[in-house]
Amino acid sequence: MAIIEVDNLVKRYGDHLVLNGVSFTVEQGEIFGILGPNGAGKTTTVECIEGLRTPDSGTVEVCGLDPQRDTTQLPESLGAQLQESELPDKLTVGEAMELHASFYRAPADWRELIEVLNLTGKIGTQFRRLSGGQKQRLSIALALVGNPRVAVLDELTTGLDPQARRDTWDLIESIRDRGTTILMVTHFMEEAERLCDRIAVIDSGRVVALDTPAGLISAVDERQRIRFRPSAPLDHAVLAGLPEVHTVERSGVQLVVTGTGNLLHAVTSVLARHHVVAGDLRVEQTSLDDAFVALTGRSINS
């Protein structure tokens, strides 16, 4: 059952077309990722879902509500964690949680929530004294304190160290296991690959692909890659002639062979026949990074 339906969103800032017909649906209980480079329109998309921005055209429905019209009901069903949203410097964790819990009709037990988020020891600590990771966890706690059916998390782990990032991932999975549907924006491949059930890849205001991480990867063909250092010079044509091989390239002292099917077996058999030993042989798995490059024509960080 779809909990979020986004249909053909268009948003323009002056001459700049930020969203150019974005559509997708998020199913209840899944972790849905929006992946894309900076400026692709990810944040604008979720802001339309949160009701913070009005699309020029297109429709959004969250739990059967219209974010533009049902501005008072929507926050009871949708919790939002915003990019760069702070709290007053001298407000303590406990005060922030208690205050925000009082805003909702049926709030979660905020003490239990901060225990889940490992902030119980910080209950009397002022916001300005929290670390980056603790601020992020508090921000998640505030997004969840209204007991929402959907939590929208925007660039949650940006600026966190690798350990804090992994801890946050575990946390997101446990939140989903508690029954909250999660819509998350990210530009970290590893994060999307590890967490998301499905991913919408957004580029230049358009959804260029929508699939599971494995589906996105397998849709990109000729993505097996073998690297090795040949023990003796080898004519590339010998390898290039194999039906499994698509490309053969030299990279320093190494050869890089890409292709499909039973590539490794085909290549090593040919090498054996020519009495060439493959040193430092490595088979590289296709990653979401590769899929992203294939879909958008560039790396996510460029």
Binding site: E50, L52, G79, L82, E84, S85, K90, F103
Partner: protein, 246 residues
């Protein structure tokens, strides 16, 4: 209503966690009145003022100052900072509208201004024998109009300033001429005609004269009421026009 109440409580608690602003906004007006009251010659009646003393003239100035410190320093800086930090934006994602935060800030500023005023009037009455306002209703009306005009200007500063720091700086820059024309350095009765005419048209000049008239038992003059209302409408209208939650 309950959200407004909770926010006001929370904002009040946060206000008292800033010792510098508590001192600046709450302690300065009473302290200033005490210092002025201790100047011996300020207790002597002045010829041509119908038996009024300098300290009588300064009491409404200090009351107006109590409102202004909140309106021009605390309120705009706080509100612009909340906008800058995305605190108001976050509120938009909760069932409580950010207007409640604005309401809480105004309520806090109003309550504490009234408290300052009561303290100032009590010190003036008990310490320096300044008569209590003889026209309480008229005094209340003058006070309310003054507060509305100054808060409207404070909100305009908050609306136009991109950051909390800018809002604080702009508010402080406006504070000194406002206090000057309120008569803090030269009481209005000692100003020359040009200065007093300018003062008549500033929000605090009009406010101080109205408070002084009400204290003496008269109703505020039409000119001053019109000036204060004008500031409420112009500053308030512009603040509403340029107001941004984020």
């Amino acid at each position: 209503m309950s959200a407004l109440y909770r926010l006001t409580v929370s904002e009040t608690r946060l206000f008292f966690r800033e010792p510098m602003s508590v001192f600046f906004v709450l302690a300065i007006p009473p302290a200033l009145l005490v210092i002025l009251g201790l100047v011996p010659s300020f207790g002597d009646p002045i010829e041509g003022l119908g038996g009024l003393r300098i300290i009588d003239l300064y009491t409404p100035i200090v009351v107006a100052m109590g409102i202004t410190l909140f309106a021009l320093t605390s309120l705009p800086q706080q509100f612009a900072t909340y906008r800058e930090k995305g605190i108001l934006r976050r509120m938009r994602t909760t069932p409580v509208r950010p207007a409640a935060m604005l309401g809480a800030q105004l309520l806090l500023a109003s309550i504490l201004s009234v408290v300052t005023t009561v303290v100032v009037l009590a010190i003036a009455r008990l310490g320096f024998d300044v008569g209590l306002p003889q026209q309480p209703l008229s005094y209340l009306a003058a006070y309310l109009l003054s507060a509305l005009a100054m808060f409207a200007i404070g909100l305009l500063v908050a609306s136009l300033s991109p950051t909390g720091k800018t809002a604080g700086a702009v508010g402080t820059v406006l504070l000194f001429p406002s206090l000057f024309f309120a008569g803090l350095w030269i009481p209005r009765d000692s100003m020359n005609d040009v200065l007093r005419t300018i003062s008549d048209f500033t929000p605090l000049g009009a406010s101080v004269q109205s408070l002084q008239d009400a204290a003496a038992g008269d109703w505020p003059q039409l000119l001053h009421v019109a000036v204060m209302l004008g500031w409420v409408i112009i500053a308030g209208g512009l603040a509403a026009r340029y107001f941004r939650w984020e």
